[in-house]
Amino acid sequence: MHTHFANCQEVVDYICGHFGEDENSERCRELKKHLDACPDCSTYCDSMDKMIGLYRAASPCFPEDARKSLLAALGVADEH
């Protein structure tokens, strides 16, 4: 069963908007303090990371055949 919460909303909004930005700002330090103490926020952030990891892991590589077709379409096929 999911637990819905509203009191951490501001913190989560902040994470979503500012993830990866200056870690030394006062607000970011406050955020970390809160995250350390709030299991719901930690869980939410962890699952966000996993969701993004899943998306990244599901990306294929650029196929060699497609590279050859692209070079031919651009008129710069590999020299042999």
């Binding site: 999911h2 819905h4 909004d13 979503c16 699952s47 990891g53 899943l54 497609a66 070079l71 651009l74």
Partner: protein, 193 residues
């Protein structure tokens, strides 16, 4: 490729130097393809979009003046191609996340214990991921992929999409929350079972 080398290669490519063009393809086609694939989740369409993007790049290369990063310029072009392709497929229905700019979607909190690398090996999870992404409107997908998958800054995403920074943040939050909530039941099921 170092920044200095890149400037030199771009200048040569502007003059039609085949070797320089191949260097740009080898450096950036994988990036463009991955980005396209992450928007359309279809290999053929991603290959087509990569080709269309590079045709545009060569056509417009003389206009590139090094005032922005070359990669930022490329992302602008490929984003436009992806959005054009998505808009041409009018039959597809996407979930609207535009209601009430101030109201964010409700957030479900539950534990996900699965390792993403291992999870993606499961065909059913990949199918659910593709289905969830497919429901997301392309305007949101572009923001999510640029920021979270490609790792660009909010300011770069704002410049590429021609949206304000607050609009980028709002769309990003909605896209993340939507995808996560869509995938939650699948992960819950895995854990309960």
């Amino acid at each position: 490729m170092s920044a200095e080398d890149e400037v030199e290669v771009i200048e040569k490519a502007k003059q039609g130097d085949a070797r320089a063009i191949r260097q740009l393809v080898d450096e950036y086609a994988p990036v463009i393809f991955r980005f396209s694939y992450n928007i359309c989740r279809n290999q053929d369409k991603a290959e087509h979009t990569t080709q269309e993007t590079f045709m545009s790049v060569l056509k417009k290369l003389k206009q590139f003046d090094n005032r922005s990063k070359f990669s930022t310029w490329l992302y602008t072009i490929v984003s436009n191609h992806c959005l054009m392709l998505a808009r041409s497929e009018k039959s597809r229905r996407h979930v609207s996340l535009d209601d009430d700019e101030g109201n964010y979607p409700e957030i479900a909190v539950d534990h996900w214990d699965h390792d993403p690398e291992a999870a993606v090996e499961r065909a059913d999870l990949k199918q659910h991921l593709d289905a969830a992404i497919d429901k997301l409107a392309p305007e949101y997908k572009v923001i999510f992929v640029l920021r979270d998958i490609e790792g660009l800054s909010t300011e770069e995403v704002s410049s590429i999409t021609n949206l304000s920074v607050p609009a980028v943040k709002s769309r990003l939050h909605r896209a993340r929350a939507f995808l996560r909530n869509e995938l939650s039941p699948v992960f819950d099921e895995q854990q309960d079972g």
